[in-house]
Amino acid sequence: MKIAPRRQRLIVTLLVLLHGIVLVGGFVAPYDPIRQDRDRPYAPPARIHFADGPGKFHLRPFVYSQRLREDSFDQYDDDHAKLIPLKFFVSGASYRLLGVIPAKIHLFGADEETVNLLGTDGYGRDLFSRIVYGGQISLLAGLLAAGVSLLVGTIVGSASGYLGGWTDSIAMRLAELCLALPWLYLLFGVRAFLPLLVSPVKAFLIVVITIGVLGWARPARLVRGVALSAKERDFVRAARGFGASNSYILRRHILPQTKSVILTQAAILIPQYILAEVTLSFLGLGIPEPAPSWGNLLSSLQQYSVLSSYWWMYLPAMAMVPFFFGYLALSSTLQEGRSAAKIDL
């Protein structure tokens, strides 16, 4: 932890900031993610302007009103006569902040018309709002699944390392087996035999639990390694000599030592699991429409027409990149810290 506290703090700040934006998604997103506007399918992203046609400068940024072209269903022209000023902290669609507090204030919006900063999808749903709300679902899925994996992995790993004997050999053979199966295929295979057409909430839970449970093996092996060396330490032997129970030793002496391994694993697993959810949803095996997730937002790109004409449907993929950057940087500094600590010993 001594290695680069400054850089680590910077990365953590970045990650907290990114997650914070998504967490207060209802406030950041101007519209309801599932509200359709059948008059505006595939509207392109609205360009933000400060200067109008004659070159007059406006302090308040504005966008031009988009008009559907005659005889077309997806071609829009900017109406240069009609400026829509962007307003901040406007009141709009009601939502629940953090899922609890009812609120109506949005970060930005416009009075007269809807403003689609990143365009709309085929049903005229605001893509920016869908990306923000989709982030809530995808990130939560990744975080929860990583939590499940780490929980199962820690319990099995510490028990198997500390108890040893046949518990250990059975658990480790099983872990080897799970690691031998190709992970994505296994995920698909298991998903295949769980019900496909279910409500979004159920689908979310299925995805989280499947991803999480299937990933137990790697953290379990790492935690086992720590537990194996930890149980030979003098203070653990001393505790045992004083008559401490197994569960007490596990809780007070073994588990605290696995903290850094678990942290590093979390930084590696979370982005991996976010990606797993995205992949499943992209292929139609994850979270179903109309609930947005980064994966099912991208799934429309499987149609050639969308791919060739509506490039902004690709933007959800870009939204993932800063998150992955953050997690990757975090895991590499954590690993650096660990190897440096090893040398210190």
Partner: protein, 320 residues
């Protein structure tokens, strides 16, 4: 030799365990291919029961597993409900297409990553290294799905490359050279996605392994003896750095069937990935099991090949 035998037995046991596990998963799960037929008023429940009995769906787990093993021995790997044919030939065609893609991209990825990683370690801190590590860090944070779709959009917009499938419509009538050219053009996009996706991890591993080996005493001693830099790097340092790279190469082999699933779906390459996905959506039980197990065979075989290579490359393992 005993070492290799032990590794082989280990791999075989692992495969047996995996097949049991795959069967267990599928028998625990609710629903099967015939459930949807139940809703069809044209199919009577007697027909359905007869179908289920015919395919042994209604039997207990152990019986089904034994039937499947027998069918495996005949080279069938069970029966596909949707295609009404044995699974193995169906899988073989798709696996061939997948291997065409992945063997090309794996070879290409290693051929690029090896010199890049070695140079990057050799000129550590200079511009070659900076460009290589910067580019690999950049590629590392871009998930495969974003990379694939991005390249696909690029290909569609520029119209430089065909964007789907393996051959153009009407390519059967073309002369052989034209057919080959057509196939190559279709391969460019998926291979590019796979190579770019694998690149950062390979380059990083090669770089760190060679950088570590460079600092070893014997390499320095060899340098002091006046052995050429290039020879030193490729013959001495790389040789010493080989162990982790061989393991990584085994992993590359292991991922030959399972690593390209998403890319195949994105570029609609008629490989194992889309086939498996289709089978999952149709609940075509034995196809799913067959696909998962076939790719497991590759994964286990990849590890085994890595063990064999390590045995050959590292005298320390041989004397153990």
């Amino acid at each position: 030799m005993r070492y290799l035998l032990r590794r082989f037995l280990h791999a075989a046991l692992l495969l047996a365990g995996a097949s049991v596990l795959a069967f267990l998963f599928t028998s625990l799960a609710p629903g099967n291919y015939f459930d949807e037929m139940r809703l069809n008023p044209q199919i009577s429940s007697e027909t359905l029961a007869a179908l289920k009995a015919h395919y042994d769906i209604d039997k207990p787990f152990a019986v089904r597993y034994a039937v499947w093993l027998k069918s495996l021995a005949r080279g069938e790997m069970g029966y596909s409900f949707a295609y009404n044919a044995p699974v193995a030939p169906l899988l073989a065609v798709r696996a061939r297409n997948t291997l065409l893609l992945t063997i090309t991209s794996t070879l290409l990825a290693w051929c690029i990553a090896l010199p890049l990683g070695v140079w990057s370690a050799r000129y550590s801190g200079r511009w070659v290294d900076r460009v290589a590590t910067g580019a690999s860090a950049f590629l590392l944070v871009i998930p495969d799905i974003a990379l694939g779709l991005g390249l696909l959009i690029f290909a569609v917009r520029t119209r430089w490359l065909p964007t789907g499938g393996m051959v153009s419509v009407g390519s059967e009538g073309m002369p052989f050279a034209a057919q080959l050219w057509d196939l190559l053009r279709h391969m460019i996009l998926p291979v590019a996605i796979l190579v770019l996706g694998a690149q950062p991890i390979l380059v990083r591993h090669v770089r760190s392994a060679v950088a570590e080996a460079q600092e070893e005493g014997f390499v320095r001693a060899a340098a002091a003896h006046g052995i050429q830099r290039r020879r030193l790097l490729w013959r001495y340092a790389l040789r010493a750095a080989a162990n982790p790279l061989i393991s990584l190469f085994g992993f590359s082999i292991g991922a030959l069937l399972s690593g390209s699933l998403l890319v195949e779906v994105i570029t609609s390459w008629p490989g194992l990935g889309p086939f498996l996905l289709e089978a999952i959506l149709a609940r075509d039980l034995y196809v799913v099991i067959g696909g998962v197990l076939l790719s497991t065979v590759f994964l286990v075989a990849g590890n085994f090949i890595a063990d064999v290579l390590l045995f050959w490359a590292d005298p320390r393992i041989r004397t153990e």
